[in-house]
């Protein structure tokens, strides 16, 4: 075979610039990319195969490990899908707690995004600040669920535990902390002229591609389309909360960054509302013995707005005590493969990492 014309650059899997364990095979001429091929599969653990051998509750522990930065939306979609098939009505308080958890997870993941976006452009201080501050949210999680990362908290039939005493106050305190802290982030990241120069007009997702590829989340909203599953296809108690869907029109990295910046503030406001409105009552319904718990045959598709966009869980029960099929749809499933390959063509080598971060590429939810 004749040697190729363009130079091959292996962007990952072992590369500081890649988000997670995946690979982009770049063909470059000069510092312009002429072709990009995404290769995934480095994280394939076959969850969807493993659930065939696990009962409904055991499967639940696998579910949260689909995506590392934000396990809760996945737990939530699974729990809701199970509830849909089994016809379980969960208490009102559980729904509010779930919203709180989901928004905390959203905050934590957005802080990680701050880190990733800063890191991808060489601004390591941003990552140090935001990941360091993220620990305060993880502390809340730890207090509530006992774990920092994999909470296994949003349970079919409600949530696993109620709030500990004084938890609401501590949440509010953390929110206060972040509200004081966010101007610093603005100063460091969003008002930095170099950051603006590096992101404006870079990594533009074509408006036609947006609908064609089924782009979701911030890339969609950064193109000026006001779409959010939390409102469009509302779940839990999001319809009882007042919040805004931030949009931008640039459709570049900068626009997506601004959308995320606004979303972080929206999340704080949602959490404040939840703390103010949360009703008293039960936090879950009693489930039967997990080993013997069977769910009537049927299927359900539950979707939710994760941080990087729409996620969904397609769950099929054949009437047994184990799921027949659980198929997860991650936001990055379209972003990371077909869309990224298109967006990267013509981009600069220097921007690959930033574009990936901006699209919210997360390999574990592609290959599961």
């Amino acid at each position: 075979m004749k040697r190729e014309r363009a130079t091959t650059l292996y962007f990952g899997p072992q590369h500081p610039g890649i988000t997670g364990n995946m690979m982009i095979r770049l063909k470059v001429e000069g510092d312009t990319i002429v072709k990009a091929t995404t290769e995934v599969g480095y994280l394939h653990r076959a969850f969807e195969k493993l659930v065939e051998k696990r009962n409904w509750v055991q499967s639940f522990t696998l579910m949260c490990r689909f995506c590392v930065p934000e396990p809760d939306p996945v737990e939530n979609t699974y729990a809701r899908a199970v509830e849909m098939i089994a016809g379980i009505e969960i208490p009102e308080r559980a729904k509010w707690i779930r919203v709180l958890i989901l928004e905390l997870a959203r905050m934590s993941s957005l802080l990680l995004w701050h880190a990733g976006q800063g890191h991808s452009l060489g601004l390591y201080t941003m990552g140090q600040w935001s990941v360091g501050d993220r620990n305060y949210i993880l502390d809340l999680f730890e207090e509530l669920t006992g774990a920092r990362i994999y909470h296994m908290y949003v349970w079919p039939g409600g949530v696993r535990k109620d709030f500990p005493e004084g938890f609401e106050d501590r949440v509010l305190k953390v929110m206060d902390y972040f509200e004081n802290k966010l101007p610093d982030y603005d100063n460091l990241l969003f008002e930095n002229s170099i950051f603006q120069k590096r992101t404006q007009g870079v990594g533009i997702v074509n408006p036609e591609q947006i609908i064609e590829h089924g782009v979701v989340g911030q890339p969609l909203r950064a193109a000026g389309i006001k779409s959010d599953i939390r409102i469009d296809d509302s779940y839990e108690v999001y319809d009882k909360l007042k919040f805004d869907i931030p949009t931008q029109t640039g459709s570049d990295i900068w626009a997506r960054a601004l959308v995320r910046r606004a979303e972080l503030r929206e999340s704080i406001s949602i959490i404040r509302q939840v703390i103010g409105k949360i009703p008293k009552g039960d936090f879950n319904v009693k489930l039967p013995n997990p080993q013997k718990w069977t769910i009537p045959a049927g299927d359900a598709f539950a979707r939710a707005e994760s941080v990087r966009g729409e996620v969904g869980m397609y769950l099929v029960s054949d009437g047994g005590n184990k799921p027949r099929r659980a198929h997860f749809r991650g936001a990055a499933y379209v972003h990371a493969v077909s869309l990224l390959e298109d967006v990267l063509v013509g981009a600069n080598i220097a921007d690959v990492s930033a574009i990936m971060n901006s699209l919210g590429t997360c390999p574990p939810e592609i290959e599961r």
């Binding site: 995934v40 599969g41 394939h44 089924g214 469009d232 296809d233 379209v334």
Partner: protein
């Protein structure tokens, strides 16, 4: 709402010959089942004529007992907020289907996955051979007749000690000489 869903169902069934159809009012969902040959045309019809522009998800379920694969496409319209599930059954022994990625480019990724995980052939699919697995020699792993546990036992050796360390707490206690009180014992599992 119910009439609206009925209307959509009717509109589909006028144009296409459905095997089965149902509506679910609570979840705002219309379910149709159709022959695999009509899948491209119905998807295109739904997308272009009925504004179901958003493909939420596509999935495959292996009904081993029936000898069928069920392939389904989940569509959504942001305007009316209604879901349409289009299903089709493929013969499990000869799962062949037409390539659909010109309707939604993202289906290309889905098809690559289904091809690898279930062995479903999509005629006309242009994509690299491998997607997730590398140098996989066994049967398509997501098929229900593939036993992952047996495969794992066969290929990877399990670490010794896993089987008797079922009760983690007790094992740790035994190792460290800690005495577990009786009341705690029953919660230890």
């Amino acid at each position: 709402m119910e009439t609206f869903l009925e209307k959509i169902k009717d509109r589909i069934s006028v144009n296409f010959e459905l095997d089965r159809s149902s509506i679910d009012v609570e979840r705002k969902r219309v379910d149709v089942q159709i022959k695999k040959e009509q899948i491209p045309s119905i998807l295109r019809y739904l997308k272009e004529n009925m504004n179901f522009r958003h493909l939420m998800h596509a999935s495959v379920v292996d009904w081993l007992e029936e000898g069928k694969f069920e392939v389904l496409f989940m569509l959504w319209t942001p305007k009316e907020k209604i879901r349409v599930f289009v299903r089709t059954k493929l013969d499990r022994d000869n799962p062949v289907m037409e390539n659909l990625d010109m309707i939604w480019p993202q289906l290309n990724t889905y098809e690559r996955e289904f091809k690898e995980m279930y062995g479903i052939e999509f005629t006309g699919l242009v994509a690299p051979e491998e997607f997730i697995l590398e140098d996989w020699e066994g049967p398509p792993p997501m098929r229900r007749d593939f036993d992952t546990e047996a495969y794992a036992k066969d290929v990877f050796s399990e670490r010794i000690g896993r089987e008797d360390a079922q009760d983690v707490r007790e094992t740790i206690a035994k190792r460290s000489g800690e005495v577990i009180p009786d009341f705690a014992k029953k919660h230890s599992r």
